[in-house]
Symmetry: C2
Subunit: 258 residues, 2 copies
């Protein structure tokens, strides 16, 4: 099963990715988590030791040159459009508490150099991870999903769009759903997050007519307190872990009703 998690910045994608990864792992699934959002830190949220010392794939210059034939950041050269990546998961995935993790790092853009070689390697690797793996893959990604590409998108079983009760977050969800359709990804579902009241839940439901809803995660001050105190977020709120458990069951047994 392949699950991609997207949504506007700050809505809580990474926490949902981490909680789902742990729930799948505790239920006996083999889980590969992929951090593809350079503004996130899935390793830290999953409790990996020394997450700041993990070198993302995009920073492995020697590897990028070896696989693409081009030195990162140099403009105008030739490079391989289909670099070999199938051995990279076994060589570069990290493991902690039964969860395997790959950190993709920043897709480079603009500036003075041409970063097509490393972007091509990242794209090939992401496609390989989604298309070729037989474990549960949980992908924490940005609001921009168009770089998934049509072939890769068809491997995703569910694109979860996280929203919070805020107009721009809902608008981003609509935009993501449209992008998803454009690349052939038709299984979008919404998770509402940071819900403080029934009226906030109703705002989300009424703003997204026709969408499937997987669940609604409450706002819980206990989570904020744990964060500010530097404690793990994974066990900070029973309300939240309970609702993520419901979302897990809705994903693996969609017929049973949410």
């Amino acid at each position: 099963m392949k699950i991609a998690i997207s949504g506007k910045g700050g809505v809580g994608k990474t926490l949902l990715a981490a909680l789902l990864a742990r729930t799948f792992a505790e239920s006996g699934y083999s889980v590969l988590a992929i951090d593809a959002d350079p503004d996130a830190n899935l390793a830290a949220t999953l409790g990996f030791p020394e997450p700041e010392k993990i070198t993302p794939i995009s920073e492995m210059k020697g590897l990028i040159e070896e696989r693409t034939g081009a030195r990162p950041g140099e403009a105008g050269g030739f490079f391989k459009l289909n670099p070999k990546v199938d051995d990279l998961p076994e060589r570069y995935a990290l493991r902690h508490n039964g969860i395997r993790l790959m950190v993709m790092g920043q897709l480079k853009r603009g500036g003075t150099g041409c970063y097509c070689p490393e972007n091509t390697l990242l794209h090939a690797l992401l496609s390989h991870l989604l298309v070729a793996r037989d474990e549960v893959v949980i992908l924490d990604m940005e609001a921009g999903i168009e770089h998934l590409g049509r072939a890769t998108a068809s491997a995703v079983d569910k694109l979860i769009v996280v929203v919070e009760p805020w107009r721009r977050a809902v608008e981003t969800a609509v935009r993501i759903d449209k992008l998803a359709h454009d690349i052939g990804l038709h299984s979008t579902a919404v998770v509402g997050n940071k819900i403080r009241s029934q009226s906030e839940k109703e705002f989300i439901v009424s703003s997204l007519p026709g969408f499937e809803f997987l669940g609604f995660i409450p706002y819980d001050q206990a989570l904020v307190a744990a964060d500010l105190a530097g404690r793990s977020l994974l066990d900070a709120s029973q309300q939240i872990t309970g609702e993520v458990s419901n979302i897990f069951h809705a994903l693996v047994s969609p017929g049973r009703g949410a």
Copy 2:
């Protein structure tokens, strides 16, 4: 004066950019606002009519081909590294309530094509807007600032990093400050946002030792209510506009004390 606003997704960059733009305009400054965050919508927040119909520069394929000599999305061709952009602000900036606005659109990455031509045009335009303009320029941007480049960064008078009381937002602020130093931008300052209590403010201050603080914007349920009801955010909270006014004064008269 050139002000760039960055920070983790969802912390409130766009609202601060819009409120600062209006405050400068109401104080008699000529203001150019630049939306350089594809996940934001500065036009909508500033009240521009029909913001969804604005074509961002990155979507103007004919313009990109005319200026760079390359068709967007085609891999491997040659293109101009210094495209002409100096006439674009007058031709493509929009005006509403005394504020001029340019929408940059998405810097493309990954996928199958090489988007270096349009990224190069966007980068040249952003550099031109920051370096050559004599008005107040307010740039709403992503957490990734490294594509500013060294020459452009030196034109920025103040890089405002918005944080909310949340560990990852503070970590992103530290990362942005480091990136800023790497490209020669040494005038970083922090604005705390969505502050619910004195202890949340203290968390931010103690987590960012040595940083300059321009102000702390309170969390105000009135803002959420205005958003869900579809009203403008610019006048939703007197508390918030008052604090942004203080930030404006700290920017234009830094000696007077915040």
